[in-house]
Subunit: 245 residues, 2 copies
DNA sequence: ACCTGAACACCGTTCAAGT
DNA sequence: ACCTGAACACCGTTCAAGT
């Protein structure tokens, strides 16, 4: 009688790594406990010895990708340290297109995520920011801290961040012309974004767009910091000094 | 023989309105075609005469809530017009907690959504912004245009934006103390956010936080506009003039 | 200690049929 | 033209059982 023992014993890390791999390949919507079990050559219920349920599987997948973000630079001012970290996070997110959606859906703050926040907050405090300003600045950064941003004009990605379907360029161009007819302002923006005629929907939310907004915020933070900003309770425009000439 | 004809004939709008109502009550994750059909006193398949599938149901629900956003103010400068619209969108989103997640998941640009973009772009153009600057400014606004933001420190909401579970305040305080021990920076931020001892996790991402970031961006846009900013191809820090003294 | 098999209560969606 | 019923191919998760 032949007993085929599993090649490698299952454990939490193998489950999480496999889940990340499957999500990278088929998208997060198609990732099910059953599909993942199949990938690991195991019956679905075997997974439940290593993750309590699907929610915790997703939490674990976030841990995996947060661990891929570069550790903070050891020298340099707060601005370049924050900037480098955010851009590193962005590179990770680009490798795992599903991660944006999962990060946003997480409600449990796992230790890995808290450690990331802790470290980012520390960058501002080390730069001399007040706790008050740091608090608001972290909120202003928001999801940009993870290196992503709502994409408005992009070509629709597949569901769950899967690879986008191939669309012939002349179809895109035709759609663009129709769009511009009905929505002239959008048309102008799209035209400005296009470097040549065919790539109407390209060139958006690339490095340039992301850094434009990131630097706008970082410069704003710097300005507030240098002006000794503090939150004034009851003030409706809390940084009215910015509006002064 | 008694024939109970349906009280009202089903139609697309009645389906969408009901879907919004159900999502408001039980959260988006619990909203299924079957559950919605039950709510309407109809068999699940009856819905498919009015929406092609669940994706289009969600698209339709977005249309419903976008229509709830106030029309743009007719007078006033670009800054207050944009500001008012974004804050109106925010009020709508607060009434429909599930809408954030659904808006972000949408990949189809429905006419209603395109019209909203079109109108927002028009505000900047009417304010004298170049097409170039308007393009990047729209990206920088990103999801904030819809009045939402990634919430980092908030109490976890229920899944799918359902009402958060009740947690006794002393439990929250105890969790806060534990957190502060392990993550001192986060602890400091939380303490700064708390107006009194018990509400450690409160007071975040409220109007103040949202407007802080919104105004920081709007002020940055204004500064770029006044300085005659334009995107310089190949420049790595596209608004380096902000860094100059 | 870890994995399995069968089962339960759900999904979205099809198809052919009713009125 | 609109609604129904039965069915299909999926889910996440339980429980009791195997080794």
């Amino acid at each position: 009688m032949v007993m085929t023992t599993p090649r490698v014993r299952l454990n939490r890390d193998r489950v999480l790594q496999a889940a990340v791999g499957v999500a990278d390949q088929i998208g997060i919507d198609a990732l099910s406990m059953r599909r993942l079990a199949e990938e690991l050559g195991v019956v679905p219920m075997a997974l439940y010895k290593h993750v309590a349920n699907k929610e915790q599987l997703l939490d674990g997948m976030v841990e995996v990708i947060v661990a891929e973000i570069d550790p903070p630079a050891q020298h340099g001012d707060w601005k370049s340290t924050v900037r480098q970290r955010v851009l590193s996070a962005r590179r990770v997110l680009l490798r795992h297109p599903w991660a944006r959606q999962v990060l946003e859906s997480r409600t449990d703050h796992t230790p890995t995520v808290l450690a990331y926040l802790e470290s980012t907050i520390g960058m501002f405090l080390a730069g001399g920011f007040s706790v008050d300003l740091t608090h608001h600045v972290m909120h202003a950064l928001g999801s940009r801290m993870w290196g992503f941003t709502q994409e408005l004009f992009d070509q629709p990605a597949g569901p769950g961040g899967a690879a986008p379907a191939e669309v012939p360029p002349e179809t895109i161009a035709a759609q663009g012309r129709l769009l511009a007819e009905r929505y002239p302002n959008i048309g102008q923006i799209s035209a400005a974004a296009a470097h040549d005629d065919t790539a109407v929907a390209r060139g958006c939310d690339d490095r340039f767009e992301f850094e434009f907004a990131l630097d706008l915020l970082l410069d704003g933070f710097e300005r507030l910091h240098q002006s000794g900003w503090s939150s004034a309770p009851g003030s409706e425009h809390p940084h009215a000094e910015l509006l002064a000439p």
